[in-house]
């Protein structure tokens, strides 16, 4: 009888222990807390975490299928909280992000600086969990844990594959046409009024005994428009040296000043007149926009140049320069890639090189076969752009009717994924 009682007591204790363990286990798996009125929502499912593609590392993308109660069912999900830990068992104390309802992914990323806030070291395993949140901060449901996952940088951005091929094709076209030009093939280019006027304008200045003013604008030496302007200056300076006309080149950027000095000096040396070169023909003024403009305006009013050539990057001062040039009675030839300033040059100057014509000018002025060949490549690239745009419009508008549904998203082929 005594043993039976002991056995019964043991069974009761054992059963209670089992029940308690089961209860704890269930709570550990889904630490949802119920308060009166709000029930925990369904947890998110199919949680995955992968290294973010096409990046410099230090980034992990977490994806999931939203909770069944997100916009449906109990409809009590307000958002999701992404938690991170260094181990599968946790603790998951690190909240790396909170996203609104309907979200299906989150990018946990940081900068590459080690001391930065929230820095994610590469090649370090992390584990993620996503909690479905409700209006009560104590009521939420946690997903399964996913991991281990570590971040690392990629060596090639696959999103830029279209760009990569486009650059290769453009380079090949350029090399092809340059080679053809080298072999002596005749390359036609249509006349450009602004370019043809340069020689006449230099001749005018020589006849009138007045200087030529060459303005680079407010660009810096690294601007492509300024580099194009350098090559134009080298042609202009060569003519100026041959005709023994005075040249004035006031500069906004000191690096441009040094390059321009070299160019003009070389032009005089090539023309066989090294002693005619004046060091102070090319000079620096200041790096303040309107102080520079004031000084150039002053030069125009006092030196009365016969020809003003504006080639490069210009901003609001374009109209001031051009209008002052009109007052001083100069012939004005302008070229810029700043779209907002082109109208002012068109209105106030005698000749304007619009956008791309500035970059073509060096080929026109020198008529060197290599440069003309590269101009041809530019034209073929433009033709390709036209054809692709037309094909794209046809594809988007008619591919559905022709059953070519894979072409409907043709335009996405040109979209660059960063």
């Amino acid at each position: 009888m005594k043993n039976l009682f002991n056995m019964s007591r043991f069974k009761i204790v054992f059963t209670v222990c089992v029940l308690l363990s089961l209860y704890s286990f269930v709570n550990a798996q889904a630490p949802a807390v119920t308060t009166v009125g709000i029930t925990p929502p369904a947890p998110v499912t199919e949680l995955t975490a992968v290294d973010t593609d096409n990046d410099h590392g230090h980034s992990i993308t977490v994806k999931w299928t939203p909770s069944a109660d997100d916009g449906a069912g109990a409809n009590n999900v307000l958002g999701y909280r992404v938690m991170r830990s260094n181990s599968f068992e946790g603790p998951f104390n690190d909240t790396v992000g909170v996203v609104p309802l309907g979200s299906t992914n989150f990018e946990n990323s940081s900068s590459i600086e080690e001391g930065a806030e929230g820095f994610i070291p590469d090649n370090t395993d992390f584990y993620y969990r996503v909690d479905a949140l409700t209006g009560d901060s104590l009521v939420f449901s946690s997903s399964e844990v996913t991991g281990p996952v570590h971040s690392y940088g990629q060596w090639f951005n696959k999103g830029l594959i279209p760009v990569f091929f486009a650059v290769i094709i453009f380079t090949a076209l350029t090399v092809l046409f340059v080679s053809a030009a080298r072999k002596g093939k005749e390359l036609y280019v249509r006349p450009l009024a602004g370019i043809e006027a340069v020689d006449d304008a230099i001749g005018r200045a020589t006849e009138m005994g007045r200087p030529i003013l060459y303005v680079f604008g407010l660009g810096v030496a690294s601007d492509i428009a300024t580099i194009a302007s350098f090559t134009i200056l080298s042609r202009v300076a060569k003519r100026v040296a041959e005709y023994q006309t005075n040249l004035i080149v006031p500069c906004y950027d000191p690096i441009i000043m040094t390059v321009a000095q070299d160019i003009v000096k070389t032009a005089y040396m090539d023309a066989g007149r090294p002693n005619d070169y004046k060091e102070d023909a090319v000079f620096f003024i200041t790096q303040a926009q309107f102080a520079y403009v004031g000084a150039v305006n002053g030069i125009m009013i006092r030196e009365l140049p016969a020809t003003n050539i504006y080639m490069g990057k210009f901003y609001a001062e374009s109209l001031m320069l051009a209008e002052t040039g009109v007052v001083s009675g100069s012939i004005q030839i302008a070229g810029t890639d700043e779209i907002a300033q082109i109208p002012f040059f068109v209105v106030a100057c005698d000749y304007t090189l619009i956008g791309e014509e500035l970059f073509a000018a060096s080929a026109y002025l020198g008529r060197e076969p290599l440069l003309l060949g590269s101009l041809k490549a530019q034209d073929y690239a433009k033709a390709a752009v036209l054809v692709l745009a037309l094909l794209g419009i046809l594809a988007v508008n008619f591919s559905g009717d022709l059953g070519l549904t894979w072409l409907v998203n043709f335009k996405d082929w040109f979209k660059v994924i960063d």
């Binding site: 410099h56 590392g57 940088g153 000079f283 403009v293 609001a316 791309e356 530019q378």
Partner: protein
């Protein structure tokens, strides 16, 4: 070799930066950051050359008594004064010795530079001026070392808080900049007066488009129609032409950059 090496550097750095665009890895990004920082640092050294050019041109004007040579004095005084203010800070509130030091500095720099430029530049008594400049520079150094009411700050940026530096910026530069910008109102009026003539079809198109957009805020019965037409002009034909220009500019820039990297375009590098 002397001439080819720079073009090799152009090719090397150009190709690296093109490839860098396609490589998102951290090492590539750090390299791009450093190379961008190098450009900024080189820029300040180039600015020293620019300032020297400004001083040189101004002094040349003064020495050769070229037209308007008197104003070059003003330019030089403004330049040196602003640099002096930017590198110094007054600590005691007493400005007497501060301005005395500035005057001594201005005169000593004037004499030193005249002396350095020498007889070849038409400077009379260049040697005497040089030594006089040295003497005044010594006096300035003495004042700088022993006068505690102000101090130089090259290693810290207290000079940027110098009230004279700030006042020169806010009371001289800002009004001048704003007024120069405001002159555009007059220039745009004179440009409009000259340009808006219906001489031919192209000028007429330009005139009509400009008028429609200029009058877009007009109130009254026609205001709504003009506003809607203006919006259509900006969003349709304007957008179309701008897109064509942008595509052309983009291809032109790419072609120029490629020519520079491949060494086809060499005009920017003189022979020295």
């Amino acid at each position: 070799m002397r001439r080819q090496l720079p073009f090799f550097f152009v090719f090397l750095f150009g190709t690296f930066m093109v490839v860098q665009n396609f490589v998102p890895h951290e090492y590539s990004e750090r390299a791009k950051e450093f190379l961008s920082d190098w450009t900024i640092i080189i820029g300040i050294f180039a600015l020293a050359l620019g300032i020297w050019s400004l001083i040189h041109v101004s002094l040349d004007k003064i020495n050769k008594r070229k037209p308007n040579w008197e104003y070059s004095f003003v330019t030089l005084v403004g330049l040196v004064a602003m640099i002096f203010f930017g590198f110094t800070a007054n600590v005691s509130g007493s400005w007497l010795t501060y301005f005395a030091a500035l005057m001594v500095l201005l005169i000593s720099l004037w004499l030193l530079v005249q002396g350095i430029l020498g007889a070849g530049a038409g400077v009379t008594k260049a040697k005497e001026k040089f030594f006089a400049g040295i003497g005044l520079a010594a006096i300035f150094t003495f004042i700088a070392l022993y006068d505690k009411s102000w101090a130089f700050h090259f290693y810290t940026s207290e000079g940027l808080e110098n009230p004279l530096f700030k006042h020169f910026f806010s009371d001289i530069m800002v009004p001048l900049q704003a007024t120069m910008f405001a002159l555009l109102a007059f220039f745009i009026s004179s440009a409009s007066y000259r340009a808006f003539r219906a001489r031919n079809l192209l000028a007429t198109l330009l005139l009509i488009a400009a008028l429609i957009v200029m009058l877009r805020f007009t109130p009254g019965p026609w205001g709504d129609l003009i506003s809607k037409t203006s919006t259509w002009v900006m969003n349709v034909p304007n957008l179309a032409a701008q897109r064509a220009i942008v595509i052309g500019i983009g291809l032109g820039m790419v072609a120029t950059a490629l020519k520079v990297i491949l060494g086809i375009e060499r005009g920017y590098m003189g022979k020295g």
